[in-house]
Amino acid sequence: MMGQKNGADVVSTALTAATNTVPVIPLIVERVAKSYEVDGKVVPVIGDLSLSLNKGEIVSIVGPSGCGKTTLLNTLCGLLAPDSGRIHWYGREIVGQPQNVGYMLQKDLLLPWRTALNNVMLGLEIRGVAASEAVDRSRAMLDQLGLHGFADHYPSTLSGGMRQRVALARTLVNEPSVLLLDEPFASLDFQNKLLIENDTAKLVREGGRSLLLITHDIEEAVSLADRVIVLSKRPTQVKAVYDIDLGTERTDMMAMRDSRDFSQYVRRIWADLDVVLQ
């Protein structure tokens, strides 16, 4: 990868403890800060933020509205540069976009002139994967997400839930080892949300991928994640971290909600968020 600044040196000290157990941690964020300048005034958005994402782990990030979650995600993706601090992808600091990282937002961002299949193929096409292979893989991914028979539909003819499934397929078909999702299911109704969460959990866990999920939805955060990170108000810092222990079978979002611990977690995180009427 380009722009790798004597990676080994920089990272080694920070990672010594972690590298003893796991060879390479997919993502480590170290004391990252980011501010914007608005009308000549500097507005700090991210204060001093550190977190990590392990292999095969699902981590949810919740925080009060406007706490800079999207800024954080764009910084992680290399779309914004942090003012200070370090971001290590697989033990390396990189310039630009990290490899093998999938990104998905609340907006499905499907290209209206492409059919569902061609939207899914976008990433493979960009990377120069042979057309026939790209078609096969994309079709298989659509099938896995319950969209068999809709490959040739244009996005405008699909429902919101289906469009978001196509967007998820577009992300997963590239076989990213890490997924960064920013409120991906926020615009869906409860049933669709639950179904797509189930599928996401299944595909991520089966594939041994890591997932960083930014969300407003505390129940979504708890039911999906192994760990929930609660952020503070701006300038954003980590306020609390919860290890979610809801058993080993973690792909049924409705079953998660049945357990007694689930509501405990939800209540504690809600208290942490310290939501007040404004």
């Binding site: 961002l109 096409e125 960009i126 429902s159």
Partner: protein
């Protein structure tokens, strides 16, 4: 088909949005009512025109009459001048339209590539866009002569800035989140341009194309007004200076027909190039 057995587990399959399609017959009827009203309105106008000019010789001289206009159309069709003039003006318009849109759109899209260049160029574009093209006609005739090329140049100049501005607006109006998505998928700037910016700008480009049909025609006709030996603008100018008002209108009818035809063709191409918009 709401359930699918996937490993024995019932799994809800999301349904596509199927709008309850309005019955075709009902749609057709609504369209024919509109068309009938339009024809009635036109007939009323022409009837009134014919009636007034039929009873008043001076009015007939000043405004012509529909029957006289159709008479001239018939004569011009028979002596071939209608077809010749329409062909000449049509060719000038088409060439100006094509060249102006080609260069305007190309430059407008390419300006997306460099914010620096687009900032540098902006005041020049605004300055050029604010020049009334008629004001350039004398120079154009000096430079390009009195033949086809000067009319094509006038037509091109009338089109190029509009095409540039609309396509640039389309290119810069692309959702930044969409660009970010392309970047996270590893797209190069050229790939973002080709796979995202160009197709996303098509809507604006076609809006510009429809708009510039009229501009291209104005350019060609104004060019013919200044100096020409054939074309619809020439026919209008000549008939006007000889006070043959119905002939002016007859040439105008041909001009309108030309504009409608070009707009129709552009609409067809739009449907062909943007099939995803037909579905809604």
């Amino acid at each position: 088909m709401t359930a699918d057995t996937d490993n024995g587990i019932d799994r809800v399959i999301p349904q596509p949005l199927r709008l309850p399609a309005r019955p075709r017959r009902q749609k057709l009827r609504a369209m024919s009512v509109v068309l009938a009203t339009q024809i009635a309105l036109l007939a009323l106008l022409l009837g009134f025109w014919e009636y007034v000019t039929g009873n008043d010789k001076q009015a007939a001289f000043m405004f012509g009459s529909p029957s006289a206009i159709f008479g001239f159309l018939g004569r011009m069709a028979l002596d071939g001048s209608l077809w010749r003039d329409t062909y000449v003006t049509g060719l000038e318009t088409l060439l100006g339209f094509a060249i102006g849109n080609l260069f305007g759109t190309l430059i407008g899209l390419l300006l997306w590539y460099s914010r620096f260049v687009s900032r540098v160029v902006e005041p020049f574009v605004i300055a050029l866009g604010s020049i009334p093209i008629i004001a350039l006609a004398p120079i154009i005739i000096i430079w390009f002569g009195t033949g086809l090329i000067s009319k094509v140049a006038m037509s091109t100049l009338s089109v190029v800035i509009v095409a540039l501005v609309t396509s640039y607006k389309g290119a810069t109006g692309v959702d930044p989140d969409q660009i970010n998505l392309m970047r996270t998928l590893g797209a190069s700037k050229f790939q973002i341009f080709r796979k995202l910016v160009v197709p996303a700008s098509l809507t604006d480009i076609f809006a510009g194309l429809k708009l510039t049909v009229g501009f291209a025609l104005i350019g060609a006709i104004v060019g013919e007004f200044m100096s020409s030996s054939e074309g619809l603008g020439h026919a209008i100018f000549k008939a006007g200076s000889l006070y043959i008002i119905p002939k002016v209108f007859a040439a105008l009818v041909a001009t309108i027909a030309l504009a409608l035809l070009l707009t129709f063709v552009v609409g067809r191409i739009e449907r062909l190039l943007m099939p995803w918009r037909r579905i809604q």
